[in-house]
């Protein structure tokens, strides 16, 4: 069982990593190398596919098979890889611009099919590689090079986007929350079907302050809602606040001691609850983190290969029969 001994270091390609110092991507890279090492799969069984953007440099830094493709198309390339060889663990590394703007169509169809891709979307709410334009997740009012007076676009909430599409696994993590995000990635790695993980990630030059309150030691417990299946939606430093859902509307209640029964208990199999909770945003609500949805549904590749199981392989000696079809005739 040589595979059992693999460590995160074994999954490093030892190439110089070219992200800016302090970039949130370093932490995500370390977490993913650790998760890959822990899966019991050898290097050659991994294919890491990316598009274009800072996050998409990722494949060069892991010692697996990797394909740094073109802008927005990682999910489409990865779909071909997975369908051609369903034995492979296929990871897609993308960003908010790559995966939700130019690649939005491929993203939504990959999720619709429930093809077995592990999609990790690094959300820094900015186009970083092209040096600071507004992205589909840039928050309203944010000043960027293309929105000097503040962005007027309504942004996507990536996790809600995925939940809304019926994605069978949706989670949100944070670049500096190593324990929580590693646990999410581990579950994503074991999920059959499409797993969509949004990781909030800071970009030092262009969105440095973006997630600062979520990381502030003093504030973060009031800002983050850690979602766990079967547990009440409770947050706050003193764990004295909870989310109550009344008439399909979330509200915050304060309490002391044990959470009262009206505080919602999270159910990751409930799509309505997942949509409602994934959509909670600052400043009214804390930002939900964790696995927001996880259900088991046959994956695209399972369904495909199940369909053709009865047919099996076309044997070479059958080629002439196949070419002849039912209507052939003999000419002498």
């Amino acid at each position: 069982m040589e595979n059992a001994k693999l460590t995160a270091k074994d999954f490093s390609s030892n190439l110089p990593v070219k992200w800016c110092p302090g970039c949130g991507n370093f932490a995500i890279l370390n977490m993913m190398q650790k998760v890959m090492a822990g899966m019991g799969l050898p290097h050659e069984k991994y294919a890491v596919i990316s598009g274009i953007g800072c996050s998409s440099r990722f494949p060069y830094y892991v010692s697996t098979y990797g394909f740094h493709s073109i802008h927005g198309r990682a999910a489409a390339v990865a779909t071909g890889v997975k369908l051609a060889n369903p034995e492979l663990a296929v990871w897609v590394v993308t960003g908010d611009g790559d995966g939700l703007s130019i690649g939005g169509n491929h993203m939504l169809h990959a999720i619709r099919r429930n093809i077995g891709l592990k999609i990790v979307l690094f959300n820094n709410r900015i186009y970083a590689l092209t040096k600071g334009q507004a992205s589909p997740t840039t928050q309203p009012g944010t000043k960027t090079k293309t929105t000097p007076l503040g962005s007027i676009d309504y942004p996507f909430n990536p996790a809600s986007f995925a939940v809304g599409l019926g994605c069978t696994f949706v989670a949100r993590g944070l670049d500096n929350d190593i324990a929580g995000t590693t646990a999410i990635l581990e579950r994503a790695a074991r999920h059959e079907g499409t797993a969509f993980v949004e990781i909030l990630q800071k970009c030092v030059p262009f969105s440095d302050k973006e997630f600062e309150p979520l990381k502030d030691q003093a504030l973060r417990d009031d800002m983050l809602l850690r979602v766990e299946h079967g547990k009440p939606l409770v947050f706050g430093k003193d764990r004295n606040r909870g989310i109550v859902i009344k008439d399909m509307k979330p509200e915050i209640v304060s309490f002391s001691g044990k959470a009262p029964p009206e505080v919602a208990v999270y159910d990751e199999t409930n799509p309505g609850l997942a949509y409602l909770v994934s959509s909670l945003t600052q400043p009214e609500f804390p930002v939900p983190m964790g696995v927001l949805r996880a259900v088991r549904r046959p994956s695209y590749e399972e369904l495909y290969y199940d369909h053709v199981k009865a047919v099996g392989d076309t044997k070479e000696h059958e080629l002439e029969t196949l070419l002849a079809g039912p209507d052939a005739w003999e000419m002498k």
């Binding site: 050659e44 069984k45 697996t64 990797g66 394909f67 051609a84 060889n85 002439e320 209507d327």
Partner: protein
């Protein structure tokens, strides 16, 4: 059992016959056309077919826009095209007559369903009076058949509702045509039985109507002559009738088998390429993987993914789709992954004439990408040749690790001809670039002969590597922004594609190797050019022809071949795209015959141009 010839009528033998069926798009024209084609094949004829259908699935019934046609030419081995002008036009309604009459020579035969020539239908077709009766058709031999009435009479005891009964009338007309050409009914009856297996009463009704049509022609005195097309002297073997799209699909399955790999075909529906996807969908298996992508871009990107995963990867599309795939093909070129892209050309630009034929994507296929992005382009010359050319494309793709575009078009993809089913031993050998042991492997090391890099895929232990769209360092495959390395890699990619000339057989000249005029063609004009040149030569005209499959790179000996003639003529269904390529590659000045009407060039047009060019001497 073939019906005995009980009536003594004159039977003339013809070297070829052209029949066009025309009617409403709901009249089952394509169905009777393809059955008729099959019957001629079974009778031992060479054949070539061309369906011509409207872009609208169901244009208003009886309208001129809704006329669907199917033309077939059959006879001896001289049949290379679906024919120019039909000898017999079968019309199911007045609109079909109005649309097709102009393509008939005086004296040809019109078989019309006279029951459809009622005032409302006449008006829709723009006729003030019934052309079957008012003298409009005096110069033609008109056979008016009350097909609705006869079909209803035939099925009066069937218990089927009237609309169902009337649906059978196309088989009545087909039966008449079978009698006229002495064709056997069996294969069609078997087909009907199979097709309507789940509705035996419908099968019985269709078969009965088919026979009734045959008997009607046999006993009615209005049919005073029968014809027999000469049989073809073809290579013995097993044959089937294939359209170009089916042929391309079967070639891809065959190529994957020869490589002992899966076939992965990712495609997005587009006219007229969708039948490749449909054909492969029928044969989906553990190793024929088809994927209907969300768009053209996903189709080609997933194909690139499958090539990266180590399977035989292919996609198919038409002109607008090839445009959408252009960026990804650049990735295919720089990542040096093997794949086949079948472009079934249609009238463009934009939606253009989506169901009509053209040859206007040649320059897009050769040059239509950003950057220096050479890839291999081949063109198929006939429906059956779509098999051989697509197979060759796959062979070159994996040998040279390059995307290969196959140009076919609407005419080839929908047209059909007999295809001799090859024996496995007759198929070309496929070879992959050599792959060293994992210790010696570098992603961009090259086979010194072909310059192909090794094909290595996820799952192979010890070969883990990263590729992508960024420029890579020669040999090592590390990311490189080095100026000289970029130039070297650009040249290596170009030189690799140039070396594909080694795969091109010597240029075959039909006719004398030198003389007054060489006609150079490519793709779907093969039949028209060859028929025209052959006819001209029989008339004593000094003309030869060459038909090229290799569009990029071009055959190395083509320049010298052209220079042995005083003039070169390039007929093509565009405004002169191959001509431009030949001019820039060989510094020659060919003349053009250019038709951009959505309709194929025909041999009369080519022959006329040959004569015109030579008159100018």
């Amino acid at each position: 059992m073939t019906k005995p010839k009980s009536r003594n009528v004159n039977v003339s033998e013809l070297s070829s016959v052209t029949v066009r069926f025309a009617g409403d798009s709901g009249d089952g024209i394509q169905l009777v056309g393809s059955r008729f084609a099959n019957a001629t094949a079974v009778a031992g004829n060479e054949l070539s077919t061309l369906p011509d259908y409207p872009a609208e699935i169901r244009a208003p019934a009886g309208s001129l826009a809704g006329v669907s046609g199917f033309q077939i030419s059959f006879g001896d081995e001289s049949v290379l095209t679906p024919g120019n002008r039909p000898d017999v036009l079968v019309v199911m309604n007045p609109a079909a007559l109005a649309v097709n009459l102009k393509s008939l020579e005086k004296g040809s035969i019109i078989v019309a369903n006279s029951d459809a020539f009622v005032p409302a239908a006449l008006e829709k077709a723009g006729y003030a009076a019934n052309p079957l009766e008012d003298g409009t058709l005096d110069n033609y031999r008109v056979i008016a058949v009350p097909a609705n009435t006869m079909t209803e009479n035939t099925l009066k005891d069937s218990g089927l509702p009237k609309p169902q009964v009337l649906k059978c009338k196309n088989f009545y007309m087909l039966g008449i045509l079978y009698w006229m050409y002495g064709l056997p009914l069996e294969s069609t009856k078997e087909w009907i039985e199979n097709k309507f297996k789940k509705a035996p009463e419908i099968a019985a009704a269709n078969a009965k109507v088919l026979e009734a049509g045959y008997d009607y022609a046999e006993t009615t005195e209005i049919f005073d002559a029968r014809f027999q097309a000469k049989k073809s002297a073809v290579t013995p073997g097993k044959y089937r009738n294939l359209t170009g799209n089916e042929a391309a699909a079967y070639a891809l399955i065959t190529a994957a088998k020869l490589l002992k790999k899966k076939l992965y075909y990712g495609s997005y529906p587009i006219t007229p390429a969708s039948e490749i996807l449909h054909t492969l969908a029928k044969h989906r298996s553990n190793d024929v993987v088809i994927f209907q992508a969300e768009d053209e871009i996903a189709a080609v990107c997933s194909t690139i993914g499958a090539a990266f995963a180590g399977e035989l990867a292919a996609t198919g599309t038409s002109g607008p789709g090839l445009s959408l795939k252009a960026e990804a093909l650049g990735l295919g070129v720089i990542a040096e992954l093997p794949m086949v892209i079948v472009d079934v050309q249609r009238g463009g630009p934009s939606t253009g004439l989506p169901t009509k034929t053209e040859q206007s994507d040649l320059l897009q296929a050769v040059y239509g990408r950003h950057g220096e992005s050479p890839l291999v382009v081949l063109a198929a010359s006939s429906p059956a040749d779509c098999f051989h050319t697509t197979l060759e494309a796959a062979r070159i793709a994996v040998k040279y690790m390059t995307p290969v575009v196959v140009l076919t078009n609407s005419y080839l993809s929908n047209g059909s001809e007999p295809f001799r089913i090859p024996k496995l031993s007759e198929l070309p050998k496929f070879e992959l670039p050599p792959r060293p042991g994992p210790g010696d492997y570098k992603p961009f090391m090259r086979d010194p002969e072909t310059l192909a890099r090794p094909w290595v895929w996820p799952g192979l232990k010890g070969y883990e590597h990263r590729i992508g769209g960024l420029e890579k360092q020669d040999v090592t495959g590390a990311i490189s922004y080095d100026a000289e390395n970029h130039e070297r890699m650009t040249q290596l990619r170009a030189e690799k594609v140039r070396r594909v000339v080694k795969e091109i057989p010597q240029t075959r000249i039909y006719g004398q190797p030198e003389g007054e005029l060489l006609v150079v063609g490519w793709g779907s004009t093969y039949g028209a050019i060859t028929s025209a040149v052959s006819k001209a030569r029989r008339e004593g005209i000094s003309v030869s022809s060459v038909h090229i499959r290799n569009i990029f790179p071009l055959p190395p000996d083509l320049g010298a071949a052209m220079r042995r003639f005083r003039k070169v003529l390039v007929p093509e269904e565009n405004t002169g795209q191959l001509r431009m390529l030949l001019r820039s590659e060989y510094m020659v000045e060919p003349l053009g015959l250019n038709k951009v009407q959505g309709q194929p060039l025909n041999s009369d047009e080519v022959l006329e141009k040959i004569k015109e060019v030579l008159r100018g001497n």
